[in-house]
Symmetry: C2
Subunit: 422 residues, 2 copies
């Protein structure tokens, strides 16, 4: 028979079992933090009507999507989890309690040109809190605390840099630069990448002699400095007040890795208040999740005003990054703690033993390849941490030698004690 | 602004938070059983090259898919998890240990015409064991035991009806009906739906006077009866031997709900040996998962022979079914065990308390809607099982009243004892 070459498309990560296991554990740790904070879980469809998903999309997004038409239905694979959330909230507003706190972890699709390192399918994790009409500032602190909790749970050392867009917007208003606000903010957003000198001179081309004043505030590192700048603009003062309350709340929540940093602007004009971004301590240029406060989630779907605050985090990207940095330990193909290896005519006994151990919550497997050698090879290759070889002696005596595959040490116990030594 | 009507396509199930929570719990129970059995987890892409996914597809499948072309790449959304498994095994054979035992739970897509009750996106759960060249019969018993374990974990009362296709194939060979084998099996496959009389007469049109002999064996209920039928055909005898060993293994594994039933044929000529199907005890006509043994998983992708045995189970379908039968309890929007409700100026204290409780593993949330009334409404609406109202008295005394929302009972404890009474 003519066979077809098996292959997986580039940009679509397909992990081997022992990698997948580590990825799953990572995802479960993230999820456990979100659940500890009492967020509801959503699982919206991967495929939606194009009209709905592209409600607010510009030309760039349209190029980067997977879109298909079947019959007279024009559909698109979701490219983020925010538009589906907006749709969901607009659709189900009467069924929800507000502030509505939800997370979603799911695959999203970007139809980018295949190239090394670009993911076209990846897990996105979003957490958002949505208000009906208004949303207290507590929500801003809460989502930052959740992101911080996720980093802790993953053992990732990261800082969360926090700013509030009202501060710079207020500053630019104060300096009578409100018409150039977007252009200046876009340049300041690139401050870290461009370096100070280049950034300064490009801003100068727009703001002239006011540039020094902009950079004076932009580079301040504490709320005290910002307050002593004595700027009377309302937006500026509101931004400072919000930052003060957010940092106060983060302190009582025990969050220690959040730091004021006005360099955080986060591109999109989508955000209107608090903005924040997680950065690896070891590689501070690398962003590993971020978000902020927005005025209105559901504007494209409803006339209600629904402000929100949230973050997004690329789980697959983070996994790839941590793998490249050598921070992950791939040693086991599956969740088994124990392989039971029959030798001689003890197979039935082994299956019964395995069932009993599973009833005690122990993940285990019986190896039944034809030869004993193949069974031992299997145990070695899959990385199972413990084995028991069961022959007639073990069946008759009821004493089993549990061998730790890492240390080589064997402990002899009765069946009911196996649980205790795993 | 012109708004777009928010909507979700028919056939795409989008659950409300409290439904989603129950679905998640169901999925997690299924997954825990698969992990207890030491299966590896795969997570293949949703989108694959059409050439790969449609390697073995006929015209019917092609009509029922979501396919899209972008640039010069022709892609299809997966319609099952079997073809992706075949691709994965063929692609990664050298990295895997055999027998390769894997599960995958993921969404699959069927481009069917939208109509009530038809799902176009649903969660499929597959478990398979794949051999390299050969696969011992133990694997057949193991996958049935796993399916049985899943039903137990879900609290679903179900029987697993087990047959072996070699038995009926052997019988038809013995009766010199091998040329009409496919047609006769297709009719027998519809026995339950057609009823005996109609089925008998249609088989009679093909098999004439041999029909009584076919039905005589087809309706046998025990292995003893089958053995006493004294049929010498090798396939028939092999089928009986395999069934005997499978039932022997199921017995030592403690599986009590597996039952011999030759009516189980399972359409596809894909299966070659053991076949089985789970049926709700209360509604025995409803199939809730099934599978069997196949000769070769990877035939379309490789020249190696890789026999396998496994089952598939539609998790979304099962959820919908259990919901319709009123077997599910939807009471909570999220995973919180406790809502902490500040009254007066105690909010900071509440956030600190919440952080401490989360560190002890207690899922909880602080309610911070503007009014106290709104906070109480929120607690009632989300179905959180316990609340604490924290005012100055509680802060000063360090004694908190934990109110159980179901019983209305309040227990007063110090902060470090809250955990014990939740």
């Amino acid at each position: 028979m003519q066979t077809i070459k098996p292959r997986t498309m580039s940009g679509f990560l397909e992990l081997l079992p022992r990698e997948q296991k580590v990825f799953n554990e990572m995802k479960e740790k993230v999820e456990s933090v979100l659940r500890l904070h009492g967020l509801a879980c959503l699982d919206t469809p991967v495929l939606e009507l194009s009209e709905v998903l592209l409600a607010k999309a510009g030309g760039e997004t349209e190029k980067q999507i997977f879109r298909l038409v079947k019959g007279d239905t024009d559909m698109t694979m979701r490219f983020d989890l925010t538009v589906p959330l907006a749709k969901f909230v607009a659709l189900n507003k009467n069924e929800l309690s507000f502030p509505f706190r939800r997370y979603q972890i799911g695959k999203v699709y970007r139809g980018e040109r295949p190239q090394k390192g670009r993911l076209r399918e990846f897990y996105q994790c979003d957490a958002d809190i949505i208000g009906d009409g208004e949303l207290p500032i507590e929500a801003d602190a809460e989502v930052i605390a959740i992101l911080s909790g996720i980093y802790s749970a993953l053992g990732v050392e990261a800082d969360i840099l926090v700013s509030n867009r009202k501060v710079l917007i207020g500053l630019l208003n104060e300096l009578d630069l409100s018409e150039k606000q977007t252009d200046v903010l876009n340049l300041l957003d690139k401050y870290e990448k461009m370096g100070k000198e280049a950034c300064f001179s490009e801003v100068e081309a727009l703001a002239g002699e006011k540039t020094s004043e902009i950079f004076n505030v932009f580079e301040m590192k504490t709320l005290e400095e910002l307050k002593s700048a004595n700027i009377q603009n309302e937006s500026f003062k509101e931004g400072i007040e919000e930052l003060e309350r957010v940092f106060e709340l983060l302190k009582v929540m025990g969050v220690e890795n959040a730091k004021l940093n006005l360099n955080i602007i986060r591109g999109l004009d989508y955000y209107t208040g608090t903005v924040f971004e997680g950065r690896l301590k070891e590689f501070p240029a690398i962003s590993i999740g971020g978000g902020g406060r927005y005025e209105n989630l559901t504007g494209y779907f409803s006339s209600s005003k629904m402000p929100g605050v949230g973050f997004g985090m690329g789980l697959t990207r983070l996994f790839v990054l941590l793998k490249e940095l050598g921070k992950l330990n791939f040693s086991k193909d599956n969740y088994s703690k124990l392989a039971i290896i029959p030798i001689g005519d003890t197979e039935n006994f082994c299956f019964t033993l395995a069932s009993k151990l599973r009833a005690e919550g122990i993940a285990c497997e019986v190896l039944y390849s034809k030869s004993f050698k193949a069974r031992m090879n299997m145990a070695n290759k899959t990385g199972v941490p413990n084995i028991i070889v069961v022959g007639e002696d073990e069946v008759n005596s009821g004493i089993f030698g549990v061998k730790n595959m890492a240390t080589g040490e064997t402990v002899k116990v009765t069946a009911d004690k196996i649980k205790d030594i795993l």
